[in-house]
Homo-oligomer: 190 residues x 3
Amino acid sequence: MASKSSTTILCIFLLFLCLSGSSAFPNWWRKKQYQPCKRLVLYFHDIIYNGKNAKNATAAIIGEPAGANKLILAGQNHFGNLVAFDDPITIDNNLHSPPVGRAQGFYLYDRKDIFTAWVAFTFVLNTTDYQGTINFAGADPLMEKTRDISVIGGTGDFFMARGVATLMTDAFEGEVYFRLQVDIKLYECW
Amino acid sequence: MASKSSTTILCIFLLFLCLSGSSAFPNWWRKKQYQPCKRLVLYFHDIIYNGKNAKNATAAIIGEPAGANKLILAGQNHFGNLVAFDDPITIDNNLHSPPVGRAQGFYLYDRKDIFTAWVAFTFVLNTTDYQGTINFAGADPLMEKTRDISVIGGTGDFFMARGVATLMTDAFEGEVYFRLQVDIKLYECW
Amino acid sequence: MASKSSTTILCIFLLFLCLSGSSAFPNWWRKKQYQPCKRLVLYFHDIIYNGKNAKNATAAIIGEPAGANKLILAGQNHFGNLVAFDDPITIDNNLHSPPVGRAQGFYLYDRKDIFTAWVAFTFVLNTTDYQGTINFAGADPLMEKTRDISVIGGTGDFFMARGVATLMTDAFEGEVYFRLQVDIKLYECW
């Protein structure tokens, strides 16, 4: 009998473990487990082209609403400006640190009454620690201190990654330069 | 012997449960489980800027093909028009209902011989029930009654969400206003 | 005793199986399982509008940096050119094979010092084998022989798909035509 009871307890324990990996299990259990399986904090630096900084610029306006032009961000909180970028990524907040990769993609100012952008871009990393890409997309309400966007995929060392990235504007100078801190928290790692 | 047999049966049952959560298990078993873990049906309203409706417009043409302009959608089924939007989201189909959030992103008319768009946007929800964002992307063949796009991620109450959203054009008025019903079915909820 | 030991072994084996499906299990075990659950190799064909090929063109420049126009790709490695496309997909590398679907979306040249693009598009497939859509996004450094982007979602026969797609430029003719091979490897199939 002792043997049978202990077996039953073991089996119930195993059943519990099985269920904890399935969607049938209640959320309160799963919520406890949300530690990132991988985390990186990186910075990227955006210098927008204004007609006078061709050499240093890393970004350019490529779409704008009626009545606007491509050398000055549009009125109404830049609503309708589409900006393509190829920005250096650094591990600290110094623009002149050796880049560990490039942030490539676009941002789109998409609101008239407040600064808000929609972003989609890729971190192309090429360091001794990491080789691969991380793909991001989401809304970036710039005026909030921190904003969460989605990590929608990855390749190489970030194969099949998913997660959340928290953006924080670390610095900006007028409308020409800004620096974003990106706190990348991956919750699916393969 | 009785003890051993019943243990074996229990173990086989557990094995079955384990496998049902892994990719080794046949699809017919897994297909049966496709009930959304979360579902929302919402509406959003798009009023495109045409040069005369600056006050009400929620969207604007910001890219167009050669020969077109930014106040009139282009010929050839608007092929090449890129539209940025910041549209109110409502829980019913009334434009004047109190918005529960904003749909922010863009649509891109991408076909010459029929109306078809490619969309990427975020629902930024801020209600008593939900706080967070849902990110979408996919092809939107407007002339079909319903179109499926992907939910590619989420934040806040939609942390790490994935799923499918079914778009339906609920109403449109000429080329200035349309209303989409979005039936969001999440199949991965954390 | 024999009964108890064999039960214990079975239970440990089951525990092992349970864990192998959870994030607690070491990566070396999970890495071994990375065989695609679905794989497709397809081609798509892009003919960019240059002012003289309206009938055949499948793509058009719809955004460009200051000083550029919509009929010629911009200098500096086309930096800032945004191109909308609706390209035929074929199962072999012949432009004139019967298309099995359309590749719809955009590419964005996003670097000044080398050809690099950021892409987001959907394969809309409509064949006897497959009905559904596959959504892609990622960086496409064109000068490398192969480039990996993410499969960020799918619908229909590709419901909830995730994976990696390897792009390879199979042919190009000047700046008007190119053909991409897309090797789609899905690692999450529902």
